[in-house]
Amino acid sequence: MNNKSQKPVSTEDTETAFLMILNAQKAYQATLNKQQTSSHISVRQLIRLVTGPQTSDDQALLNQISSNFNARRQFRAILNTTALATQHRQAAAASTSSQAPHHRPGDEFDLYLRASSKDDGLFYLQLVISETAKTTKLSTAEVLFAETQGLFLSLPLPNIIEGLAQIVLPKGHPMINAFQDPEAEFFIR
């Protein structure tokens, strides 16, 4: 051992090193805590989101679900089992309709998107229940959900009168983007 090569360690250096270790430990702990709070979404929360009354926090929770693979998978499964009706992704190439961008046909409900004649960026999103035996059941729907580009969206539905519910949306609303995405899926419950 060569004791001459070793420098004497001052009290200040020791203090600095100790503080650095302490800060690193704090940062690590904070990161762990953050991950725990953001990733944990209980099944009860997911079910409440689908079946329960709408609250102002719903979209925040939907965003949280969208960024979490497991929660997204669970939420989709819950939606599939509890939704009154589902409109699957569109086979856009198969359509010969000239109104295709304004109309999304489905087995149980159709969606229409029409711009206001005032031309000020207001759109009407109309949900039309197909005239089948299930009309009465589907007319009780209260919320429209959409899954587009890995994101979940929801909108409360007004009363469905004579098989039709109409929602007013401003230009650029995420639900309009979902409507225009042929890969998007819609659910009503």
Partner: protein, 430 residues
């Protein structure tokens, strides 16, 4: 300064009407909060106030859907009806403005389907909530008119703002007269027809009067507007709206309306459906060597007749269908083939659609037809398929005869032609 601004009072604040826009008929009328794109809770009531058969605005002015933008929320009640009815009339007369008008109208009352103005509650509270804005308008030199139902005159507070003209009215016509605008002609005609003829002008005058009354009665009863709407909906391809309009006409329980609708359905829609159904020829192109069967060769070139046909070859044939249009105009066709071997779960083998001009053809993809219970269904229309494609899909997927009949009725009663060929085993034919 010219033009009219309109205020709709509530117990919390006076709400100014910012704009009114006629929308496409398939939009539900809506009252929006200006700049927020938020539909107000009264929108459902406003839709009923506008659209026939319950609504008066469509009867009075024609268009069936509007969007109204207002400055502040109106959450409940029906007292907005008088104000919004006047906005519609003023807009129709090109006299409505959102600012800088010479006259400010403050109106509160319900309007029923006889166009009577009925009383509402809380008049004093509404005036109090509007006091500031009314006072300001008077100071700015605007003519301010306060319109309420006659029965509400006694509800006016003693300390009412000076400088306003107050009118108690019993009808929409009186309201228009009070503010100095014209009623739409349709309403004037209805009221004039109710005026009794004078007596003692001689026999000839009496006969003439009876004739005029008879013609007037017929004119009043014949649902020209409904028939016109139905025709317009059919022309524009809004077949769902067409069915709703026809249903409303049936509900009127007016014998003239019922008979007029019957003739419209039979002479126009049903005839059109039949004409379209016979406007196509479907020919089978069979691959002769499918399963090395001679019977497939026999199928080649066969023109399919509508109705019930004998069964297909047992081992099946690979075929395409050649569809030729003989229609006068461009038509849209959807064609499907279904294996009905299992009675409850029909198996869809092919669904294909195209738009073809007169004399043109289209070919479907190849499909193997081998069932003894095989159906071919084609729907033909000169209208956009967005309106009827869903009904056709339901018809193809129908698991019971009741559902199939329902969808058939939807299609044929709106002028869509249906071509149906059904192959069945020989023993069933016997």
């Amino acid at each position: 300064m010219s033009g009219y601004e309109v205020l709709i009072p509530t117990t919390r604040h006076a709400v100014k009407v910012i704009s009114i826009t006629a929308e496409a008929p398939d939009i539900r009328s809506v009252v929006c909060l200006n700049k927020t794109y938020q539909a107000l809770p009264i929108s459902a009531g406003y839709e009923q106030f506008v659209r026939r058969p319950t609504g008066i605005i469509e009867k009075l002015l024609g268009p069936s859907a509007y969007r109204v933008d207002v400055s502040a929320p109106i959450t409940q009640g029906d007292s907005w009806q008088l104000g919004l009815a006047l906005v519609h009339i003023l807009k129709h007369n090109d006299e409505f403005v959102d600012h800088g008008g010479g006259t400010l109208i403050w109106a509160s009352g319900e309007v029923d389907n006889q166009l009577r103005v009925n009383s509402v509650d809380h008049i004093a509270a509404k005036i109090e909530a509007s006091r500031e804005i009314l006072q300001s308008a008077i100071e700015n030199g605007q003519r301010v008119i306060l319109l309420i139902a006659k029965r509400n005159l006694s509800d006016l507070p003693s300390g009412i703002i000076s400088g306003m003209a107050v009118f108690g009215v019993s009808s929409l016509a009186e309201s228009c007269e009070a503010i100095g605008t014209k009623m739409p002609k349709q309403l004037i005609f209805s009221q004039a027809s109710a005026t009794p003829a004078k007596r003692g002008k001689g026999k000839a005058l009496a006969v003439l009067g009876s004739l005029v009354a008879l013609v007037g009665l017929l004119v009043f009863n014949v649902p020209f507007q409904s028939l016109n709407n139905s025709y317009q909906y059919e022309q524009s391809g809004q077949l769902r709206m067409l069915r709703m309009e026809m249903r409303d006409m049936r509900r009127q329980k007016n014998w003239v309306a019922t008979n007029a609708l019957y003739f419209f359905e039979v002479m126009y829609l049903s005839a059109k459906s039949k004409k379209l159904a016979s406007a196509i020829t479907i020919k089978i192109n069979a691959e002769a060597d499918t399963n090395k069967q001679n019977k497939c060769r026999n199928l080649n070139g066969l023109v399919i007749n509508a109705g019930r046909l004998p069964s297909l070859p047992d081992k099946g044939c690979k075929v395409t269908f050649e569809v030729t249009s003989h229609a006068d105009n461009k038509i849209r066709i959807w064609l499907a083939t279904i294996d009905r071997t299992s009675a409850n779960t029909p198996l869809q083998l092919l669904k294909n659609g195209a738009e073809i001009a007169p004399g043109q053809q289209f070919f479907t993809p190849a499909v193997a037809i081998k069932s003894a219970n095989f159906d071919l269904i084609a729907a033909i229309s000169d209208r956009d398929d967005a309106a009827w494609r869903g009904w056709f899909d339901n018809l193809v997927d129908a698991g019971s005869i009741e559902i199939a009949n329902l969808e058939m009725d939807r299609l044929t009663s709106t002028g869509v032609g249906i071509f149906q060929a059904r192959w069945r085993p020989y023993n069933e034919l016997e």
